[in-house]
Each structure stands twice: as structure tokens, then as C-alpha cells.
């Protein structure tokens, strides 16, 4: 689609510009010789109107000859040749118009008086055509850069979506393999317990399925997921895990991004409990006040534990997801105090989730 025709407003603006060019040409015609203002106006305006449409064709030759595909010499040769023919066409049209007008009584002898101005029309024609070419090249590069920008934006949004989906869908392989190992241990010593562990693991995995597609789930559902996760981990770690909950009932229905808290609890197990010989506590506090839900996950840990062999991307991801979803309506803070590690986050209780 030609950029001038794509919007009515643009076409109007284009014609206004050419009206000014017409007035300028009128002035040029009157300045040197014996053509009156009225005669010049009658010649220049229709001529410019006509030429404005000739110059529209420059768009097509520009679009077909992008600067990065042709040498400068070839581009110049093409456009100057086209400009030359366009200007000749215009000059003939001007001569024809003057000739036609001079047949009427009002403009008698105009053709004769106009003849010395033909070279001026020709030169102006070349110039105007080349200006159009330059204008269209600017339009093309502007649109290209805007397209590229839009593509980059779209790509980054897609990448973030994909990352979040992957994150949400992923079950930590450590967790899975260690749980299977526990089942392997129990099959011979305590088959009933082994079956129970299979059921718990199945329950947890089923709850995580399909969460990637959901934008939000009730906090209650997230808590069930956490409890299913801890039920499995309790088989592995036995009495080493002490879970304490302090949860406001009126916060249970609040929608939250799925798997927002589970990584925090998993962190508490992996980086806290797993490094403590005697085990430790995980405290989950959820409170709702004045439309704000505040969530605290605290756990004991060993400050002298071996260096982590897994990078702590969990926290960064939770922080980023809060930020993406709620902007500055949410907060996220990490604290280490002695042998207690805690994450505190707040988010609005009521929030319209825009579904993608």
C-alpha cells in the first residue's frame, strides 16, 4: 500500500504541501518575465496538482531499489533518468496547458509568453522528483526501524512468556530422582509406605500439570500444592522437616501466579533443611490487611553449609514474576538473620489479571 494513500489524512496533507509548492511556482513564474499573477496561478496550480501524482510513482521505484541491495551509482542513474522523463512529461504538459489556455480570450498570447519559462518548469520538475525520492527513502527507513523495534519488543515478550511457562512446568529433577530413590528403598522394607509415597508423588505431579497455562490460581490451591510437595519431602527427610503455618482464612481466595510460593518452600528444604543434620523449621505466614496480602517464608539454615552446587535462580525468578505481574504494587525482600533465612513478599489482594 502506498504510504500516502494508506490514510486520508496523509493524502490531504500531501496535497496541502503541493499547494504550497504550486504557490511557490506561481511566484517563480511572475518574478522574471511578463506573466501576471493571475496567469501564473492558473498555470502553476493545475500543473502542481498533476505533478503531485507523477511524483507518487517515485515510491514504487524507491521500494524496488533499496539502498542496501544496489550500488550508489546504479541508484543515482535510475532515479535521475526517471526524474528526467518525469520532468519532460511535466514540461510538455505545461506547454500543452499554456497552449490550450491561450486559445481563450482571457489568456490570449499566454503560450507565447510562457515559452521562455519551460526550462524553469523542467528544472523544477527534476528537483521535485528527486526530493520525492529522498522523502520516500526516509519513509522506508523509518518504517523499517519501527518494524525492527516492534519485532524486538514482540520477541522479548514471547521469550519471557516461554521462560515463565518453562519455569512453571518444570519439576526439579533432584526432587524427582531423590523421591524415586526413596521409593526404591521402601519397596523391600515397607511396601505399604512405598505405595503411599507413589501416591503422594503422583498427587503432587498431577497438581503441577497444566499450571503453566494458568495466569492465576487461588492461594488455597497453591497451598495444597505446597502441602503435597512437603508430604513427599517428609518421607525423604522424616522428622527433619517441621512445617509451621499461620494463615489468615480470608486470604485463601486471593488469586496468585501459580507456583509462586512452591519454589520458596522448595528452597527452604534444599538450602535449609537438607543441610541441617538435626533438621529445622519452615514457617509459612500469610496475612491479609487493607487489601494487601503479605506472605513470609522463613526457614532455619546452616550458615556454614557447603557451597551450593545449584545456582539459586529460584528466588530471582519469583522476584521477576512478581515484578512482571504487579509492577510496584508488589514487594519482595530477602533477609538473613543468624541461622534464619526469610523471604517476605506482598501483593495486592484484588488484581485484574490480563489474560494473554
Amino acid at each position: 500500500m502506498h504510504p500516502i494513500f494508506s490514510q486520508l489524512r496523509r493524502l490531504a496533507l500531501y496535497l496541502v504541501v503541493w499547494l504550497f509548492i504550486g504557490l511557490l511556482l506561481t511566484y517563480l513564474l511572475t518574478v522574471s518575465h511578463d506573466i501576471g499573477t493571475r496567469d501564473a496561478l492558473v498555470l502553476a496550480l493545475p500543473l502542481c496538482f498533476f505533478y503531485s501524482f507523477i511524483c507518487l510513482s517515485a515510491w514504487y521505484s524507491c521500494r524496488g531499489r533499496l539502498p542496501d541491495k544496489f550500488t550508489m551509482g546504479r541508484l543515482l542513474a535510475t532515479h535521475i533518468t526517471t526524474a528526467f522523463f518525469a520532468a519532460i512529461l511535466w514540461a510538455f504538459a505545461a506547454a500543452g496547458l499554456a497552449h490550450g489556455l491561450s486559445k481563450t480570450a482571457m489568456f490570449a498570447g499566454l503560450s507565447h509568453r510562457f515559452r521562455p519559462e519551460i526550462p524553469l518548469i523542467f528544472c523544477t520538475g527534476i528537483l521535485l522528483y528527486l526530493l520525492s525520492v529522498a522523502f520516500y527513502y526516509i519513509v522506508i527507513s523509518f518504517e523499517a526501524s519501527r518494524d525492527a523495534e516492534a519485532r524486538v519488543m514482540k520477541a522479548s515478550v514471547l521469550a519471557r512468556d516461554a521462560e515463565l511457562k518453562a519455569l512453571k512446568a518444570q519439576v526439579n529433577p533432584h526432587f524427582l530422582f531423590n523421591s524415586l530413590n526413596s521409593i526404591s528403598a521402601l519397596t523391600s522394607s515397607d511396601p505399604a509406605k512405598a505405595r503411599e509415597m507413589c501416591i503422594l508423588l503422583g498427587d503432587f505431579l498431577r497438581r503441577t500439570l497444566g499450571l503453566g497455562e494458568k495466569a492465576a490460581i487461588p492461594l488455597d490451591e497453591e497451598l495444597s500444592l505446597i502441602r503435597a510437595f512437603l508430604a513427599v519431602e517428609k518421607v525423604r527427610f522424616g522428622a527433619r522437616i517441621n512445617m509451621e503455618e499461620d494463615i489468615d482464612k480470608d486470604a485463601l481466595a486471593v488469586p496468585v501466579p501459580p507456583l509462586l510460593l512452591q519454589p520458596l518452600v522448595e528452597n527452604a528444604v534444599v538450602h535449609g533443611i537438607a543441610n541441617l543434620v538435626e533438621g529445622g523449621y519452615i514457617r509459612l505466614g500469610i496475612h491479609r490487611r487493607d487489601g494487601i496480602v503479605s506472605i513470609d517464608v522463613a526457614n532455619s539454615f546452616d550458615p556454614d553449609a557447603p557451597a551450593k552446587r545449584r545456582s539459586g535462580v529460584g528466588l530471582a525468578n519469583v522476584r521477576q514474576r512478581l515484578q512482571t505481574r504487579y509492577g510496584n504494587l508488589a514487594s519482595f525482600a530477602v533477609r538473613t538473620e543468624g541461622d534464619c533465612f526469610s523471604v517476605a513478599l506482598t501483593l495486592p489482594a484484588e488484581f485484574e489479571v490480563q489474560q494473554a
Binding site: N178, N181, S184, A274, N275, A305, S311
Partner: protein
């Protein structure tokens, strides 16, 4: 009876999860020539048990409280054959493969356990030719890339101490050992100085001499010492020789 028990392979099981030890115990029970002399739930206990029991074989979990499997390996010497046991650890598994160390991935079958045991027995009877690789090399290649040590574990007898690298003043090569100087004390560890150098953050530690690595934060000044040699004076007052190459490196750091 006593002659029979002397032939038995003496094994230590190390895993912080009771159920994980239970699987190992069950698989070990199928082998009459294998005897469990200790079960440990963390790295400290493991080092202690190895020092006291001098086992032939150790089944070693990688992720544990107190000391991880690699730290334990570095501390127990090379007379004990090691079979690592882990659930999932890309870098560790790659390192095991490169250094041809036996390992078991949880969950594992009795057959896989038997295969690892057979290999461990070959290693035990094969003598020096099939010795395990230097523990520090294995530990270094099992670390995720661009992750440097933030602590060093050392052992005196069955006593383990942990030195945070920030507390390390300098390290000095002494034959097959490095002496780690911290707060006026020196700890000996069986490791080459080059190996230690690669596991320390180069932004914080520098090899300034064939035999010395220094904590850059401790360097108070560098003084000439004799004909074209230098010494680094630490904030503790200790003087450490600086080689010509070391001086060039140190100077370009101090000029920055």
C-alpha cells in the same frame, strides 16, 4: 573366622537420607565379601569414620550437610576407593566420566550397584596403576563454571576445620602439600599449589611466586629485596617473596 573377615572389603556408607542408606545397605547385604564398618549422615562423620576405620571402599553422596562429597574426598586420602552416589548433578557427572570414577545415579538397580562394586574391587586390587585421580582435580572439574571456592576444608587427624577463603592470608607450597596461613595459624592440606590457584577467584588471589599465592586484600606494600627481586609485605607484617613474573602481575594489579 578371623582369616575370613580379613579378606572382607570394609565399606562406609555416607548419605544424609536414611532411606538412601537403606538401599545401599540392602544391596551390600547380597555380597558376603562386603562388610559395612560405618554409616554416616554427613561429611564430618564421614571424614572421621574414614580416619578411624581406614575402610577400603566408601559410598559417598554428593550433596550433604557440613561437607559435600567432594570436600570429603579431598580430605580422606587416596587409599580408599570411592563410589559417588548422586541424584542429578550435570557438572559432577561430567567430572566422574572424565576422571573415570565410579558413580551411581539414584535410583539405581542392584545390577548397577554390582557393576560399580566390581570396578571398585579391580581398583583396589590393581594397585598404583589404577589409582583414583587427585581429589582436588576431580573436585575442581565438578564445580559449575566460573564458580570459585568460598571455603577450604582441611583435616588434622580426624578433626576437620573449615577456612573461609576471605580469612586466608596466603598459601605456601610445601612438597605435595600447601600450607594455608590464616590468622597466624597454618593448616596443611594435601594439594598442589597450582591446583589451589585454579580454584581461587583470580580477582582476589594471585600467584606471586612459584610457591606462593597471596590474598590481594592483605598486601600492604611491595618492596625491593636484593637485586631485582621483591617482597610483598602483608598487613600482618609477614614478608612473602615475589618472583619476577609475579612482580609484573602484582604491579599491573596495583597500578590499576
Amino acid at each position: 573366622m578371623s582369616s575370613e573377615s580379613q579378606k572382607k572389603i570394609r565399606a562406609v556408607l555416607v548419605d544424609d537420607e536414611q532411606l538412601a542408606r537403606q538401599v545401599l545397605r540392602e544391596f551390600v547385604a547380597a555380597h558376603a565379601d562386603l562388610e559395612i564398618v560405618a554409616e554416616c549422615g554427613n561429611g564430618f562423620e564421614a571424614v572421621k569414620a574414614v580416619a578411624e576405620q581406614k575402610p577400603d571402599l566408601i559410598f559417598l553422596d554428593v550433596q550433604m550437610p557440613k561437607l559435600d562429597g567432594f570436600e570429603v574426598l579431598e580430605l580422606i586420602g587416596r587409599e580408599t576407593a570411592v563410589v559417588f552416589v548422586t541424584a542429578y548433578d550435570n557438572y559432577a557427572i561430567k567430572a566422574f566420566e572424565v576422571h573415570a570414577v565410579d558413580y551411581l545415579l539414584k535410583p539405581f538397580s542392584a545390577d548397577r550397584f554390582d557393576a560399580a562394586l566390581t570396578r571398585a574391587k579391580q581398583r583396589l586390587s590393581g594397585g598404583a596403576t589404577q589409582k583414583t585421580p587427585p581429589a582436588a582435580d576431580l573436585a575442581a572439574s565438578a564445580r559449575p563454571p566460573a564458580q570459585y571456592l568460598d571455603r577450604i576444608a582441611v583435616r588434622e587427624g580426624s578433626q576437620v576445620s573449615i577456612i573461609p577463603v576471605a580469612k586466608l592470608d596466603y598459601a605456601e607450597a610445601q612438597d605435595d602439600y600447601v600450607a594455608l596461613a590464616t590468622a597466624g595459624k597454618k593448616h596443611l592440606k594435601q594439594q598442589t599449589i597450582s591446583n589451589l590457584e585454579t580454584s581461587l577467584d583470580p580477582a582476589r588471589f594471585m600467584r606471586i611466586h612459584r610457591s606462593y599465592i597471596v590474598n590481594l586484600e592483605r598486601v600492604a606494600k611491595v618492596e625491593p629485596y636484593g637485586k631485582d627481586t621483591h617482597v610483598a609485605v602483608l598487613s600482618t607484617g609477614v614478608q612473602i617473596p615475589v618472583s619476577r613474573a609475579g612482580y609484573a602481575r602484582l604491579k599491573s594489579f596495583l597500578d590499576r
